[in-house]
Amino acid sequence: MSNSNGRNVNHSEPKKAPRGVEIRGLKVSYGANLVLKGIDLSIQPGKVTALIGPSGCGKTTLLRCINRMNELVRGCTISGEVLLDGKNVFQMDPMVLRRKVGMVFQKPNPFPMSIRDNILYGIEAGKIKVNKDEVIRNSLQKAAIWDEIQNRLGDNAFRLSIGQQQRICLARCLAISPEVVLMDEPAASLDPTSAAKVEESILGMKGDYTSIIVTHNMQQARRVSDYTVFIFLGEVVEYGETERLFADPQRTETKEYIAGRFG
């Protein structure tokens, strides 16, 4: 329970401490195509970690291995270990795992129901007993959208703007109080204002959640993340604190990618 991550616990509410994620020798292939060629990473608990790298290098695949969404893809074979709180996720019940590891997708995907039902969907399906109004309020506030929609929670989430939809998705993910939040380019399809709000809520999540964010936007990675991983051709090229990695990249590939020479 308390392996090296006892800090950042918010004692005002009985909340679980964020967990780190340990990845060991992860290899993923789609058919004959080896996408991840042995990844070893240790994601820090309670911090924001950015995954950067050119398109097709395996960032999203790595992300989707952590909550086992990759298994839904046909012809996908996975070997290696992903440890959450010391337990291998591939030996856990995927539904229990996904309640601990939430995910926000690149394309906003609210369900065609009211905003309220969207937020409560995971709770009701998981039969979690909570104060529903409080959960709605808290999660919408964390996703920086409470002020905009607090008076129309009964509206259909499909009719919101794309930026609002994405924040609803973030709130929906936070409502089941996960320990790790995976974000697959959450701001890529949004307008600058909404993207700024999403970034704001990612910053607000620091300490309470372990966040992993895939992004193509160097500036965004620099603004929101504490640690950055540079992945290239299915391998981790460089991993370190964001400030250090951007200011003084050790490897030439990293330097060139950050300078915008390729990718």
Binding site: M95, M103, P112, A125, N156, F158
Partner: protein
Amino acid sequence: MREIITENSTQEAITKPALGTPQTGLRRLANALIPLFTLSIAVISILVALVAITRNDMEGYPVPLLVAICLVLDFLFLDVYRQHQRWDFQLLIVSGLSFIFLLILRALPEFVTGLQLNAVFHRSVFSTIFLLAVGLPSMVSALYYLLNATPLAEDISRYPVILIPVVVVIGLYLLLIWQLVSQGLKVVDWSVLIKPYYNIILPEKYYIQGDWPAWRTVEQVSIGFRNHILGTGLLIILTSLMSMPIGVGAGLYLSEYGDGWFGNTLRFMIKSLRAISLLILGLAAFNLANIANNTPLEWMFRGTWFTGWETLSSSGGSYLTASIILSILIIPMITQVTEEGCRSLPPELREGSLALGVSEETTLRRIVAPWAMPNIITGWLLACAEVAGSVAVLMFIARRGDYGVGVFKQVTSLAYLIFDIYYGEKNFKQLMQPYQFQAGLLLLIITLTLGALAILTKNWLAKRFRGM
């Protein structure tokens, strides 16, 4: 002063002719004369062509029209050169074509038999084809040159060709509906809607001047199609109850797990089931009605009735038999629309649900099934219309349904009634003949209402379940 000048200049810019020679009204009329003449002949020949296909007595018209088209297109050819300085050889080709058609038409015998078949048809069928083949291109060219051969004129002149099939279809449809409505509304007796049909001979006691009672037979006749209307309703209800759970279940299965060989086989079988001839289903129904003969289950599959002292079995089948076989017709429809509905769900929504730690089963129930709901309901309503209108399936087992409506009673339906009026017993035929259009109108109203409901609910349900 300045204002007047600007006004003049704009006026000039607008009325300035394209090629420098100012065209007076009279001259413009003279230029339009030959295209206008061509257009009118072309339109007349198209109209004649459309009428001639339905009648044999239009023999006098096609030949002079073909001659006129042949000649007037040559004139148009020359006129085009005079006005636009170009040789439009298409006109000559159409002109030559109409001459060839003319020769063929004169050479044909009045009745055509061919390919050693017994089919005989009148040569007016050919004249229709010929007139359309030359009438349409000449109409397009005439309109084109009438509108000064601009690129816009090219577009406008082609509109009628696109429009003609639409007009023909709508015209035929309206004609059909008009015939049914006008004949059906010639009210003979509206009480037929609530009276059942029966024609039975009953014994009756009678007395002659306070003497001993004697017996005579009295024919009791009631004309109406209450049982046929109620029977159609019962068929719809029973068939829906049987086919909806199976069809929706199979559709959900195919969309969720149907990618393997088993799913593909099932899909193939369902598709072939949709293509099956309805008459074969009718034979199957006949077999099903006979299969339980002389067994304790006979009363379920045969239409039975209780006469007061004994239970009689009909020669046909029961509503149960009919709806079992109609389900075979409906289940593939429901399965297909359900599967299409489920597959139209954006994959992100399913992923989003699974990523929240929600099981496949709950996702199916709360995300996939509501999404497919508009398709399912629409498919169901169309299936109901199919049930109401199908005769071939019931042909061998339906009877007149004189003895009431019930799950194990003798089956009948409105669609079968219309068939029965033509091919049924002579007595029945004579009694019901005056009401055939009323029955047809009623069936039309039922099916059209179901179709309209399908369209309306689709939009409404899409709003409700998909937030669109």
